[in-house]
């Protein structure tokens, strides 16, 4: 998958009448392939970019391109996927074929009719032992229009060189403790995760966090706790920023997606470490824009099978969303290190984990974002 491909591909697709010569070229190429092979297509796949898209390229896209002759074009727009889908559906001009999305956004997109319902047992392959897909994916992870690929986690990481060796942070309380662990903190500029962490650091048990947040008292408590570090926070908006800020030692702590930190640790040898305490984990997966199911059916069947999901875990430390894949997770493709201890679901990492409550955030994100912004501006 080269960028040149991407350029030429998008150029030809954006032109309504393909010139005769390129039609001929396609016809010749198609004739040259084995009989019965479907005509090669260009799949516009929207994802998160960076290390994550790289892992999808290696585990899904490249094998699929080889197998089918299709061309995959990566579009790094997942952070604005919902608005992009709304605009394209409204325009009646959907150019995206498959979108990588968070389940909470998928719930909204599904209820607005922007994406296709997916029937797991006809669309996704059964596990090698014959378990149907609907039972093989992690319990409750499939939803009407959403099929998960991975379990990932929002964590706080730190630069180990910023603290004395005998005094490294290891709990979420330390992130809120400016006296013992001085330095700036980089946090994502949205209420999600930050409010949960603030409450846990303030003494709320991880399992009670959302109940607490559902009350005015809980919200005030979370903001009060965030107030204690507000002046030391740098707010980030792009997923690429936290590892950068940590590497430059601009900050001592940074909230991040665990895979990005893993990538920097392993591929760039950065001295980072993860505070797994109070990690907020959730799923991430595919949705199909309305009208695109036929086009991506074959790809989707391929990319969600047991082996492909296990393959992705060779490149990035996100847990596969199929039970049958988990057993196949082994070592990192390039360095050969054992992937298991880097997974969010690894026992010791998982003890105080908080499952993100999609429904709570679907209801409250509008108002809490507004409140969060007002709090930031104060």
């Amino acid at each position: 998958m080269s960028v040149i491909n991407q350029f030429t591909a998008s150029f030809t697709t954006s032109r309504p009448g393909m010139p005769l010569r390129s039609l001929l070229a396609v016809a010749v190429a198609a004739a040259g392939m084995s009989a019965g092979a479907a005509q090669a297509e260009t799949l516009n796949i929207v994802s998160w970019g960076g290390a994550y898209t790289d892992s999808q390229n290696k585990a899904y896209h490249e094998p699929w391109e080889e197998k089918s002759g299709d061309t995959v074009v990566n579009i790094d727009k997942s952070s604005n996927a919902l608005s992009g889908l709304r605009a394209q559906v409204q325009a009646g001009n959907v150019t995206w074929d498959l979108v990588d999305m968070l389940p909470s956004d998928a719930l909204i997109a599904c209820s607005e009719g922007l994406i296709e319902p997916l029937d797991p047992d006809t669309l996704f392959a059964a596990a090698p032992d014959g378990t149907p897909a609907s039972e093989d994916f992690i319990e409750n992870s499939l939803s009407e229009c959403f099929v998960p690929q991975i379990v990932y986690s929002n964590i706080v990481a730190f630069n180990t060189e910023m603290f004395p060796e005998d005094k490294q942070p290891d709990s979420i309380d330390d992130v809120f403790n400016l006296e013992e662990f001085p330095g700036k903190r980089a946090l994502q500029k949205k209420p999600i995760n930050n409010m949960e962490w603030a409450l846990v650091a303030d003494g709320v048990a991880p399992e009670d966090v959302y109940e607490m947040l559902d009350s005015e008292e809980g919200i005030e408590r979370a903001f009060a706790k965030l107030d204690t570090i507000k002046d030391s926070v740098i707010w980030w908006e792009e997923g690429a920023q936290p590892p950068q800020l940590l590497a430059d030692k601009e900050v001592a702590f940074a909230s991040a997606y665990n895979g990005r930190i893993f990538d920097a640790e392993v591929n760039e040898k950065q001295p980072f470490s993860i505070v797994w305490d109070a990690q907020v984990f959730e799923l991430d997966g595919w949705v199909v824009p309305t009208g695109k199911l036929d086009k991506v059916k074959d790809y989707l069947m391929f990319a969600t099978d047991t082996q492909r999901l296990a393959d992705q875990a060779k490149y990035i430390s996100y847990g596969p969303a199929r039970t049958s894949s988990a057993a196949l997770v082994s070592t990192h493709a390039d360095t050969g290190i054992d992937m298991k201890p880097h997974m969010p679901t690894y026992g010791p990492n998982f003890e105080t984990a908080i499952p993100k409550d999609d429904e709570f955030w679907a209801d409250n994100l509008d108002e809490l974002s507004q409140r969060f912004n007002a709090w930031l501006a104060r």
């Binding site: 080269s2 960028v3 040149i4 991407q6 350029f7 998008s10 150029f11 954006s14 579009i75 790094d76 727009k77 605009a87 394209q88 409204q90 325009a91 009646g92 001009n93 150019t95 908006e237 792009e238 690429a240 920023q241 950068q244």
Partner: protein, 267 residues
């Protein structure tokens, strides 16, 4: 005292632009002068960020996009804008001020508002994420500059020249090509340069209505600054400063030529 003050202000104007040039040759991945650079050690300097720029597919693609969009938008804006300016400079033009105000409005309306509005409207027409959409948007943004510069040139235009040509038997098309065009050319060219740089430098509208296939240089810089600042951006910035020096020189030459021509016409 006054001179010191003015020098400081000029330093404020031009200093930041000059600072970026040596910084772009930094051998280290930092945004500041290293000790080796300050001691003029050749080892402190390198071309690595330029190399990175010229070998990056993404940057090369965005240059290509920027040029495609800016050239198309400039041609459209210049043709439409020049025709309109010819009409506007006629003293029989009805509703002249109102029409002028409408034509200039893309320059006055904040870009974020134009961008949001175009995003809403262009999505309905299926023009978002297409080259055509970006080109049309940039044409609209470039038009005020063409209209302003060409009408300004025409306002000093001596109409007795066309009448003279006419009475000497020249056809209207001959009059246009032989008399009007040479005189308005400087205005048209500088208007076109303004339209070009407007499109070449524009971020906000592209941010809203373009797809990843239409990524331009400013968008690439924008995401570079927001995500991971690498000195490659400084190399790009230096090259862009060169582009603006080039454009400025062209404009200055046109202005001089224009003054010379004007000097020949009776006032």
């Amino acid at each position: 005292m006054f001179c010191v003050l003015c020098t400081l202000i000029f330093l404020f104007l031009i200093g930041p632009i000059l600072v970026i040039i040596p910084l772009s040759f930094n051998a280290e991945p930092y945004f500041t002068f290293s000790e080796k650079m300050l001691s003029l050690d050749p080892e402190g300097y390198s071309l690595r960020w330029y190399q990175e720029f010229f070998t990056s597919d993404e940057w090369m693609r965005s240059i290509k996009n920027s040029i495609i969009v800016a050239v198309c938008a400039t041609v459209l804006a210049t043709v439409l804008g020049t025709l309109a300016a010819l009409g506007l400079s006629s003293r029989f033009m009805p509703f002249r001020n109102t029409i002028m105000a409408i034509l200039i409005s893309p320059m006055i309306v904040p870009l974020i508002i134009s961008a949001a509005a175009m995003f809403f409207f262009f999505s309905k027409l299926g023009l978002t994420q297409t080259y055509l959409g970006v080109i049309l948007a940039h044409t609209a943004l470039g038009i005020p500059f063409v209209v302003i510069t060409v009408t300004a040139t025409l306002s000093g235009f001596d109409h007795s020249l066309t009448r003279a040509a006419h009475s000497l038997g020249a056809s209207p098309s001959r009059t246009f090509f032989r008399i009007i065009l040479p005189l308005v050319t400087p205005g048209v060219v500088s208007g076109a340069l303004f339209a070009f740089i407007t499109s070449f430098d524009e971020v906000v509208v592209v941010l809203f209505i373009a797809g990843p296939a239409q990524t331009t240089i400013p968008i690439q810089m924008w995401s570079g600054i927001r995500e991971e600042i690498s000195p490659t951006i400084l190399a790009v910035a230096t090259l862009l400063v060169m582009v603006s020096i080039l454009l400025l020189t062209t404009l200055e030459l046109i202005r001089r030529r224009n003054e010379r021509l004007r000097g020949l016409t009776p006032s």
